[in-house]
Each structure stands twice: as C-alpha cells, then as structure tokens.
C-alpha cells in the first residue's frame, strides 16, 4: 500500500462538507502556514518539496511561484486551472467533487504565499455540477473565518471566485484561460510576456493545476523535506492517475511514483488487469497528448529496464522509445483496439479544439484528420503515411501554444510504433472495415543490444 496524501480521507463519509473535513484534521495546514510562516517561507517549503506541476508539463511549482513579479502597488492573482479537458484525464474532477475543501485549503495557503487577494478557480463548462459544490465549500470556509477579511487575524484578505468556462479545450492553456477569464475569446497569448509578469488584467499571475494546489496543504502539514522523500529522484510526492480504457477497475488512483507500470496495470490494488482476460496492446500513459506506446515498450524501456510510473522513467528514451507522465490520464488499449481508429479519434478531437489563431495548427489538424479518416475507412494510400509524418513535423514547435504539439505527438507516435498497422489498413481496405489488426507483435519482448 503506497503513501496517500491527497486521497487519504477520500472515503470518509461526508468529507465534502466542512464539519467532517475540519474534524478529520482539515485546515490545520492553513493555521500553520498563516500563523507561523512567512509567504517566502511557504514558497521555499514548496520548492524544497520538489512538487511538479500536475497539469501536464511537470514544471516545478515552487520555481513558478518564485518567478512571480512583485511590483509595488500592483495586485497579484492566483488562478486555479480546473479546465481539465485532456481526454482520459479526470483526476481534478474527483478532487473537486469529493474533496473541495482540500483544494480550498491549498488555495488559501498559495494565495497567502503569492499575495493574491482575489483568487480564481477557472472550471470547464462541462463540469456543470461542480461549481455548486465549490461555491458551497467556499461559503462554508468563509463562514468559518478561513476566507474574507483579515483571515485568522493575520491581516491577510482573500476571496475565491469560481468562473465557468464555455467548454473549450484550449482554455486549459494558461494564457487562453486568462483571456477567457477576462471575458474575451479564448485565444492563447503570444509569449513573452509570461503570466508571471502580465497575466489576468495585465497583473502578475500564477496559474496552477487543481492537483498541484491541493498538494500544497499536505506539503505544509508534513513539511517539504518529508514530502520530497516520497517517490524517486525528481518525481517527488504522490500523483493522481486517472486510469481508463480496457481495464477491470477504471478510476482515480493515488500512487507514490515508485511502482512499475506493470504492477499498476495488473495488481488488484490498482487497475486489476485487462478486462475479459485480453492482452495488453498499447497504452497512453499521460493523457491523449502524450505519445502512445506499444505493450513491450510500455512495460520495459528500450534499455531493458522495468518502466516505473514516474516522470523520468516514463520519459526514458525520449519520444523515440518513451512517452511522458503528462496529466496522468492513463488510457489502456487491449488487443481488440485499432490504433488507426484511435489516432483518427484523437485527430478529430484536436481539429475540433484548435482555436484557429495560428496557421499550422488550424490547417494542419484538419488535414491530418481527413487523411486519417481515409485510412480508417479503407481509402488510404501508402504515401499518406509519409505525408502524415511530414504534416505533424511541420506543426510541431511552430505554433503559438502547445496545442499544436499536442496534436502532432499522438500522430507521430502512432506512426513511429504502429506503422505496420497503418500499412495493413492501406493494403487491406476491405478487411480493415470488418476486423482489427489485433495484437500482432506489439507485446513481443524487445531486443536489447548488449553493451560490452
């Protein structure tokens, strides 16, 4: 049984409400932080903890906080990014729905550390029922003196506002989120300037993921150094993984980043193995944007080591033979799944969600979708595969925001690892409509070159 920090109390009856949460030791961290620590000390503690952004990029949260510009007389803001739209990711929803006070606790501490008197939770429009839960929790916290004017007699004022988005994936990108929060069209801004200098209403702003902010409470409680001892290397603390796809027990799991991918998929404590006794074919370990890996490369790295569920091990081998931790949306595909169809589905998603501001992403995502649809429907040509490769290469890195990269990587990885499945689709245009390529050799042990 791994360490649990975020979901420790998740199964306590009524933990959603203030009384139960407080009885279970909630808001201890706020008391400790506001009464005994200075804002800089909190930032220092978060730095020491090695907490990395849980939204996908994995940037150290403490570093991000220390970059915040602090000009005299200009208000600063903390924005909580709850626009969790990455396909396969639903960890933030779980946190906000069942443990809203954990997030609010983290928000109060972070607001104090950053000097934000008005803090926003930007939540995606599709989570229609959650703003009510959050607003009720905020009201409860305010009624008990954790929010509002002069919190705990420290002279620190803080209000938390919940803002609903209108349902756009792009608004999860921090500058698009800021535009949308300001009431404009959710187009990503051109960086620099970064939000840490010019964010909401041109004021210095920090945008953090829900899970990152929720982890601040436990870090203050146990101390940054203690938190850093959990996990391995630069993957410290615990991470929520939202597992879905062809597994026996889909759901949100908290892991301490020391277990292997194999254990995570097959042990009864976590996913409980592949559904209906099928075989594992492929997996996207970190939400739809990260490269898909075939079974053999998922369980072992190209060097033959066991792959672990943490930032470094999942990224081992770069994009050639590795993937990425991403946002923790763990999508498992069994032997009956078609990688071509799957890639087409993702391409369709990115085409639909591209904001249309910069040309490579606007035009390229649509083009890739059309080609993939042709291949999937048995109308593809062999040259289409190389064309797809060329298109994704020209989108990647040339766009304003990472959505272009996110659209290019899944296509690139699918071609890199499953090229023969694409070729089979093209060579068997009739057969591919009635059956799948199947497992083929994707779970075969990989040849590890021995080095003298």
């Amino acid at each position: 049984m791994g360490v649990k920090l975020l979901l420790e109390k998740a199964h306590v009856e009524g933990i959603r409400h203030y009384d139960v949460y407080r009885r279970e030791g909630g808001y201890r961290a706020v008391e400790k932080a506001l009464k005994t620590m200075s804002p800089d000390a909190i930032t220092e503690e978060v730095k020491k903890s090695g907490l990395r952004g849980r939204g996908g990029a994995g940037f150290p949260a403490g570093m991000k906080w220390s970059f915040l510009a602090k000009p005299e007389g200009v208000p600063r803001h903390l924005v909580c990014n709850a626009d969790e739209s990455e396909p396969g990711t639903f960890k933030d929803r779980y946190l906000m729905e069942f443990l809203p006070h954990l997030l609010i606790e983290g928000l109060i501490i972070a607001s104090y550390a950053l000097g934000s008197n008005a803090t926003y939770i930007y939540i995606r429009g599709e989570y229609a029922w959650i703003p009510d839960i959050l607003e009720r929790a905020i009201a409860e916290a305010k009624a008990n003196g954790w929010l509002g004017k002069n919190i705990l007699g420290t002279g620190f004022d803080c209000e938390i506002y919940v803002q609903r988005g209108a349902g756009a994936y792009i608004c999860g990108e921090e500058t698009a989120l800021i535009e949308s929060l300001e009431g404009k069209r959710g187009n990503p801004r051109i960086k620099p300037p970064f939000p840490a200098v010019k964010g909401v209403w041109d004021r210095p702003t920090v945008v953090n993921n829900v899970e990152t902010l929720a982890a601040v409470g436990p870090i203050i409680n146990i101390g940054g150094e203690e938190y850093a001892k959990i996990g391995v290397g630069r993957s410290t603390g615990t991470k929520l993984i939202s597992a879905c796809g062809n597994i026996n027990k889909p759901g949100v799991y908290e892991i301490d980043m020391t277990i292997s991918v194999e254990e995570f998929i097959y042990s009864d404590e976590y996913c409980g193995g592949i559904k209906n006794g099928k075989k594992l074919k492929a997996c996207i370990p970190g939400g739809s944007s990260v490269p898909i890996l075939p079974a053999n490369l998922l369980l072992k790295t190209a060097k033959g080591d066991t792959r672990l569920m943490n930032y470094e091990s999942l990224a081992d081998g770069g994009f050639a033979t590795g993937s990425s931790m991403g946002s923790g949306g763990f999508i498992v595909l069994d032997e009956d799944q078609c990688v071509v169809k799957h890639t087409y589905t993702l391409a369709r998603f990115y085409r639909h969600e591209s904001c249309g501001q910069c040309s490579p992403c606007r035009e390229g995502t649509g083009w890739m979708e059309k080609i993939l649809k042709n291949i999937e429907m048995g109308k593809g040509k062999m040259s289409d595969i190389d064309l797809l490769w060329d298109i994704q290469r020209k989108i990647e890195g040339n766009t304003i925001c990472p959505l272009g990269d996110a659209a290019a990587w899944p296509v690139a990885a699918a071609i890199r690892h499953f090229r023969d499945e694409f070729e089979w689709h093209i060579n068997n245009p009739q057969e591919c409509l009635t059956r799948n390529y199947g497992l083929a050799h994707y779970a075969d042990p990989i040849h590890v070159p021995t080095t003298a």
Partner: protein
C-alpha cells in the same frame, strides 16, 4: 547621465545593424530590407498587438545575445520577438526556417482557393507573393476546401470568407480605428470565420481601411471589384482637403478615369504615415465617394518598389530591390554553375543577350548567314 541611447547590435543573415532596444527582429530585418526580411502575413506595424499568428515570419535565433549566446531551441516569430544586444538571427541562411516556411505556406494554401486569375486581389496579394517565393509547385491536399458564401458587409465592402487566412488584421482595425467593433471571429479552428454575427453592415467612417490591411482577397472594395485588373491601372499620389482624415491617397487610374482610391502604402504593403506624421488611414468618403479626378489634386506618380506585379509596369520612379546575396554569403558571390558561352554552340561570346535592345535576332547567334 548622458542622453545617448545605447543601440543593440543584431546580425541577421550575416548582415549587422544597430537598432534601438525594443525593436523586433522583423523590424530590424526591414531596416536591412531585401530578401533578408522575413515575410509577414498577419503582422502590421501600424496595428497594436497584431502579429504572431501566421507564423510565416519564423526565424532561427542562433545566439540569444552577447551575454547569453545560447541558441533558442524553437524557431521564433520574428514579428513578436525583440532583439537583444549581440543576437544572431538566421533567416534565409537557415534550412530549418526555409523548411518551416514552406510548410506554413502549404498550410495557408490548403483552404485557400487556387483561382488567382478570377480573384480581384491578384497582383497585389501577399499570399500570392508568399507562394511564389516559398510555395511548392504542387498540392498534396486532396480534399474539399472549406467554402463560405460571400457576404456584403454594408454598401461598400464585400467579405469572401473562403479566401480569408484569419490574420485578424481587420479585427484590429475595427478595434483601434473605429469606436465600436461590430465584427470579429466566430467559431474556431479551420471553420473559424470573420463575421458580424447577424449580417450587420459595417458603417463606420474608417472601416474601409479593412480592405487595405487585408493581405488576401477576402475583403474587397465593392466600388472597384472586377472593374479592372490592378496592373492595368496606374497608381498616382493625390490629396484633397478632408475634414475626417489626412486626405492623402493613392488613385488607381486608367487614362483620366479614377478606378479606385486607397491609402498610400510603403514597400511592405502597409499604410504609410501622412506627411504631417499622422497615420495615413483614409476615411470612407475619400475612398468610396470621390471617384472624380476633379475632386483631387494630383501630386505625381506613386513610387512603387518591390511590391508584386505592379512594379512590373514601367512606371516612373520604380526602385529596383537591392541584391543582398553577396553580403549574406559572406562576400562570396553565387556559384556559377556553368558559363553559357563555354557550353553553347550557338552563342556569340561578344554579345550579352540580356543587354541587347529589343528582341534577339538571328544575327545575334552563330551559324546565321
């Protein structure tokens, strides 16, 4: 404290210029001019916050600055990246840039109709110029292009969204020149469109300028549409006393007939500042209603440089573009692949064919009797 400003040294394609701090790479390159300048489809120096969207101006930064000479990992949009002292930029000398730019050109042309012969913008279209310089000879796109119906935005302006490349320039014009913007971008991705939502007309005194800033034929002047091809008309500078705008315009004439009135443009296709220093935007009255030569005082033929086929007409004052190739290549001239006189059996070495007056004659070649 001395008032002297420190200038930044920036090297673009082996050519070094001194520029003021805060200048963008693109504007520094424009100071050099010629081929060294990256193309820009969405950036417009007279419009605040424009640029960064089309990605045609991507360049490689080989060294960030003297203080921190690390290269930037990604190509950067030169229109929105400011220079640092000692920065080294590669534009046409970088294969990565040329490859990316060819890709962007292909993307821009995916949903853009390839029917220049029937488009009113042909001849002064920036996308046409871009495809000529950076496009591939064939298309790899085998699908239906996105198509929109034509819309009339009021009495004078027609919107043909099918041709739009979503540069957002017209949105910035409406935002910054008029009191209330009534058009914007609806929807997203490749189905995004410029629209007024419920076919409102755009009638503001300065809204006609959206035609001038549109890099393609998406927004056109209804008083001129299909009346003439631009290369048959002659640009003439003229002015009148106008209470609303600077009144300094360019008339596009054929004989004594004024076909079209536009703002005066510089060599980058952008509206020039007026002689009194004000921005050169012109009002709708000057643009659409004053089509009589008697309304105007003629200043003389416009100076045309570089821009598209219009400079192919033999106008007065055509400026030839400077050739930067030797400088870009560090003093070396382009490599001569072959000497035509050595390989040709019919050429006469003493006759330079490119320099003879009029068409070549059989006497100019060997073997003639």
């Amino acid at each position: 404290m001395s008032e002297e400003k420190k200038l930044f040294k920036v090297t673009i394609d082996n050519i070094t210029v001194d520029v003021e701090p805060g200048t963008t790479i693109l504007n520094a390159a424009r100071m050099i001019g010629g081929d060294v300048t990256p193309p820009a489809m969405c950036y417009y120096s007279k419009l605040k916050n424009s640029g960064g969207k089309c990605r045609t101006c991507l360049v490689e930064v080989a060294a960030g600055s003297t203080a921190d000479p690390r290269p930037m990992p990604k190509l950067v949009a030169s229109c929105r990246t400011t220079v640092m002292d000692g920065m080294i930029v590669k534009n046409i000398t970088s294969d990565r840039v040329l490859d990316a730019r060819a890709g962007i050109t292909e993307f821009l042309l995916l949903n853009h109709p390839l029917d220049c012969p029937i488009c009113d913008q042909a001849g002064e279209c920036h996308l046409q110029d871009l495809s000529y310089e950076h496009g591939k000879e064939g298309t790899r796109f085998e699908f239906q292009k996105r198509i929109f119906k034509k819309h009339d935005l009021g009495e004078y302006i027609q919107l043909h969204m099918t041709r739009c490349i979503l540069c957002y320039r017209c949105v910035f014009v409406a935002d910054q020149l008029t009191e209330k913007r009534v058009h914007g971008v609806l929807d997203r991705g490749d189905h995004a469109e410029i629209a007024t939502y419920i076919s409102k007309s755009l009638d503001n005194d300065f809204i006609g300028n959206v035609i001038d800033v549109c890099p393609v034929g998406a927004l056109t002047d209804k008083t001129f549409r299909f009346k003439n091809r631009v290369w048959f008309t002659k640009p003439v500078d003229a002015h009148r006393n106008c209470s609303k705008c600077c009144g300094e315009v360019q008339l596009w004439m054929r004989g004594d007939e004024v076909f079209r009135v536009t703002a005066r443009k510089d060599e980058w296709g952008e509206v020039k500042d007026a002689s009194d220093g004000r921005p050169g935007w012109i009002c709708n009255e000057c643009r659409f209603d004053k089509k009589d030569i008697k309304d105007w005082t003629i200043d003389g033929p416009s100076k045309i440089n570089r821009h598209s086929v219009i400079s192919q007409g033999h106008y007065v004052g055509v400026k030839k573009p400077t050739d930067f190739l030797p400088e870009v290549m560090g003093g070396r001239g382009p490599k001569l692949l072959m000497d035509i006189h050595k390989v040709s059996e019919v050429n006469r070495p003493e006759i330079e064919l490119s320099k003879i007056e009029g068409p070549a004659h059989s006497d100019d070649f060997k073997g003639s009797k």
